[in-house]
């Protein structure tokens, strides 16, 4: 009964549904993953500062943060589990053919995830029962596994952008897998550092923004100052490095994935002396409404206006990325917001250098207050550039996403349901963290609790 045209329409609708489902669940998880990677480091810095300088506010901060880490890690763990299911449920043909080529990255990630889950539990549940030294040491494996886990997952994603380390036999089966070449492919270096820094920036700016809002509401105590200072310092250190890494990544993509680069810069016609377009709509072979800087794109790619940049006209129509305007604007958003965050870091650094203190002017606090949301926007925009920019390939130039997708029906319904479920999850998690903050504030007002020492006694006292 079904005509070929109808079948085609069906499978392309399935593809779009599956891509939406994967994109949405990944886009949700990536924020939690950032917290999983970077939040424990901030927690450890706060505890270390608290113990070393006898800083009650910092110690209190570390303890409260660990409660938030518990909730966020739990939601991150389950949304991450969903992703492992989705690899098979949405992209079975891809996993069938290439699971053994890049699966090892996830196996390594599994080890890090395991260690992270174990030591987060020890840290969170051990506040009162472990010695301060043992407790701080428990956080170290969490920080290391955060970095290692990010590396493994990003190596897998980088491999999808730059597949190497294997051969295909005549029937298309993977042979001669070289796991190290898979892990350390062309794109791993820049993608990993870019994402790691993004994780520290997102977590740092979000945390700082929470305390900036509190300070704007008049809560300018030591607790809020430390809550702003620690994460903002980390994010501010990451920002300039990120600018450099991001720039390197963009140049590498111009080489590694010319179709992605042409899409995100909206370059229709290849050649030298390329115009750099800031903003604008990509339509009918040209950029409308954007600001064009002649020659700048070539200059950025090869340090000379004479640099030849590949255009979409040199890429077969069926190998070009879709949704050019979205791709281009996402890229511009990421770069633009990243630059603004860098300027905020500069502002912070100059103010600190001049006064050796946190600037508490309204405008500075306002800027920090919006930096959290801004960092998430930049993160999501960057993720869109990576993923949509790789299309129509699931494995760059080797397998199309349309060849990988499941024939299973009903994905649109699953997608709609997942959206509702995740929105409910997000809302609940946010409400919980807000309720926790309120409770902590209420406890704070009962100060000073003379009978309860903030810190467990030092070892010599405990044994005395």
């Amino acid at each position: 009964m079904s005509s070929p045209a109808l079948l085609l329409a069906d499978s392309s609708s399935n593809l779009l549904a599956a891509r939406n489902q994967m994109g949405f669940t990944l886009g949700f998880h990536i924020v939690l993953a950032c917290f999983g990677v970077a939040f424990p480091a901030m927690m450890l810095i706060a505890e270390w500062r608290g113990r070393k300088r006898n800083d009650e506010a910092a110690l209190r901060l570390a303890r409260n943060w660990s409660k938030a880490v518990a909730v966020l890690f739990a939601v991150g763990a389950v949304t991450g589990t969903v992703l492992s299911f989705e690899f098979g449920l949405l992209w079975p043909r891809f996993m069938d053919r290439f699971g053994d080529a890049f699966g090892i990255a996830f196996a390594i990630e599994g080890i890090f995830f395991f260690l992270e889950a174990i030591f987060i539990a020890i840290y969170i549940y051990g506040w009162n029962r472990l010695s301060p030294r043992a407790h701080m040491w428990a956080a170290v494996p969490i920080v290391i596994s955060g970095v290692g886990g990010a590396f493994s997952v990003i190596a897998a994603n980088a491999w999808m952008n730059q597949p190497q380390g294997f051969k295909l036999d005549a029937s298309g089966h993977v042979t001669d897998v070289k796991p190290l070449d898979v892990l350390f492919n062309n794109a791993t270096g820049y993608e990993f550092f870019h994402m790691l820094l993004a994780a520290y920036m997102v977590t740092g700016f979000i945390l700082a923004s929470i305390y900036a809002v509190g300070m704007l509401r008049g809560r300018r105590d030591a607790y809020h100052r430390a809550g702003l200072l620690i994460p903002l310092t980390v994010a501010a250190i990451a920002s300039p490095i990120q600018l450099f890494v991001g720039d390197t990544a963009a140049r590498a993509i111009a080489d590694d994935q010319p179709s992605k680069f042409a899409g995100m810069e909206c370059i229709y016609k290849g050649g030298t002396d390329q115009t750099e377009w800031l903003g604008g709509i990509c339509t009918d072979g040209k950029v409308k409404g954007g600001i064009g800087v002649p020659g700048l794109d070539s200059l950025l790619v090869g340090f000379s206006t004479g640099t030849n940049v590949t255009g979409l006209n040199q890429i077969p129509a069926d190998q070009q990325p879709p949704a050019l305007t979205m791709l281009h604007l996402s890229f511009d958003t990421m770069v633009g917001v990243g630059t603004l965050l860098f300027l905020l870091a500069v502002w912070f650094a100059i103010a600190w250098w001049r006064k050796r203190d946190l600037p508490e002017t309204k405008w500075f606090l306002r800027a920090v207050a919006v930096s959290g949301v801004a960092a998430v926007v930049a993160l999501e925009a960057g993720w869109i550039v990576t993923e949509v920019g790789r299309q129509p390939w699931i494995l760059y130039k080797i397998m199309r996403t349309s060849e990988a997708v499941t024939p299973a029906q009903g994905i649109w319904w699953v997608f709609a349901f997942t959206m509702l479920l995740y929105i409910a999850l997000f809302t609940t998690a946010a409400l919980i963290i807000r309720a926790l903050a309120r409770r902590w504030r209420a406890e704070d007002l009962r100060e000073p609790p003379t009978d309860v020492p903030y810190a467990p006694p030092r070892e010599e006292e405990a044994t005395a």
Binding site: F87, G126, V174, L425, T428, E443
Partner: protein, 344 residues
């Protein structure tokens, strides 16, 4: 033994650990759901929180381990299972999201909605192992074709898959009850120990009935597995499982903690490896063998290496966590920001 066989054994070690520890978590959720209200309900939930609070996330990493080893070492089998059993698998994934977030949220939520989070946690703790059981039952009954794309509904709604689902829930509840008997006994709460011991006995009978039904269903729908379980070496493991199960019952009635967990867990482990022995050399009985499903050879070696590293790094850490948790070196989750002094 080929490298593919070693990888299959590694996969099965992951399945075993997930079945024990993840299973105990699911079972704890079942008892949480059935705990009722009032003082008693509170003390039951309190014990459940103390028992699984620090360990549940680590326990569920075994599932990720199983999925990753399956798709890395046996991509064809992974894809065949995923394209056939996507309905129960998607429902199990949903259950995992709901129970994980339900459990994590309920400590932190204010009073009135805490109950809702608890119920979500409880119901999802029943549904998740049930759907996982239907997946295993469907694989055992040979309803997953090697090329995948099997019947998306009939494959897992037959008698054997449904009985397996029920068996999974019962065994999970049983394992959890045994762990909780031990934990409440160790905490010196004889009342609570008796409470869980009674329930362990009841659910042991339920699991026994489900297991007998399962054997009948195996005979009908999965003759290959049935034959494997009734001949050497499968039969030895079945007998071992029976002995362990009986020993656990005796210890339970005799009010003895020593050896109780070993016996109960032993019964489950022997059964899981009995299936492995019976299904060998198939990964999807009887359509796909372990060697046909195996991925590239360098990858298989790498899986073994990574497993070795995991054994060196993860196992001692896990033991540390369990020991700290069992020695009450880890406290219950508290939302308070106040630091109390450690026990002197």
């Amino acid at each position: 033994m080929s490298t593919a066989d070693v990888c299959a054994a590694i996969l099965w070690i992951g399945v075993t650990l997930y079945a024990i520890f993840g299973g105990a978590d699911f079972g704890a959720g079942v008892w949480d759901l059935l705990a009722g209200g009032g003082q008693r309900g509170q003390s039951v939930r309190g014990q459940i929180d103390r028992s699984i609070g620090p360990v549940w996330e680590a326990n569920h990493v075994w599932l990720i381990f199983v999925l990753v080893v399956l798709w890395t070492a046996f991509p064809t089998a992974f894809s065949a299972i995923m394209t056939t059993l996507y309905i129960p698998l998607a429902l199990a994934a949903l259950g995992i999201v709901l129970r994980g977030s339900g459990f994590a949220f309920r400590h932190a939520l204010p009073g009135p909605v805490q109950g809702t989070a608890s119920r979500v946690f409880g119901v999802a703790s029943v549904l998740t192992p049930f759907f996982m059981g239907t997946v295993v039952g469907a694989v055992a009954s040979g309803n997953v074709p090697a090329a995948g794309d099997g019947d998306p509904t009939a494959s897992w709604t037959g008698f054997l898959p449904l009985v397996t689902g029920a068996l999974f829930v019962a065994v999970a509840a049983y394992t959890a009850a045994i762990f909780l008997v031990r934990d409440s006994g160790a905490a010196g709460d004889q009342d609570l120990r008796d409470y869980f011991a009674r329930r362990a006995l009841i659910v042991a009978v339920v699991a026994g009935v489900a297991a007998v039904l399962g054997v009948i269903a195996l005979r009908q729908d999965a003759r290959f597995i049935y034959d494997g379980l009734t001949s050497w070496p499968g039969i030895a493991l079945v007998v071992l499982s029976g002995i362990c199960g009986l020993a656990a019952l005796v210890l339970l009635v005799a009010d003895r903690n020593r050896g109780l967990r070993v016996a109960a867990v032993g019964a489950g482990v022997a059964m899981i490896w009995g299936y492995f022995a019976a299904a060998f050399p198939y990964i999807l009985p009887t359509s796909l063998t372990i060697s046909d499903a195996a991925g590239a050879s360098a990858t298989l070696t790498e899986v073994i290496v990574v497993f070795g590293v995991a054994a060196v790094l993860v196992v001692p850490s896990l033991i540390l966590l369990y020991v700290l948790s069992q020695r009450s070196a880890l406290e219950a989750y508290s939302t308070s920001s106040e630091v109390t002094s450690p026990r002197q």
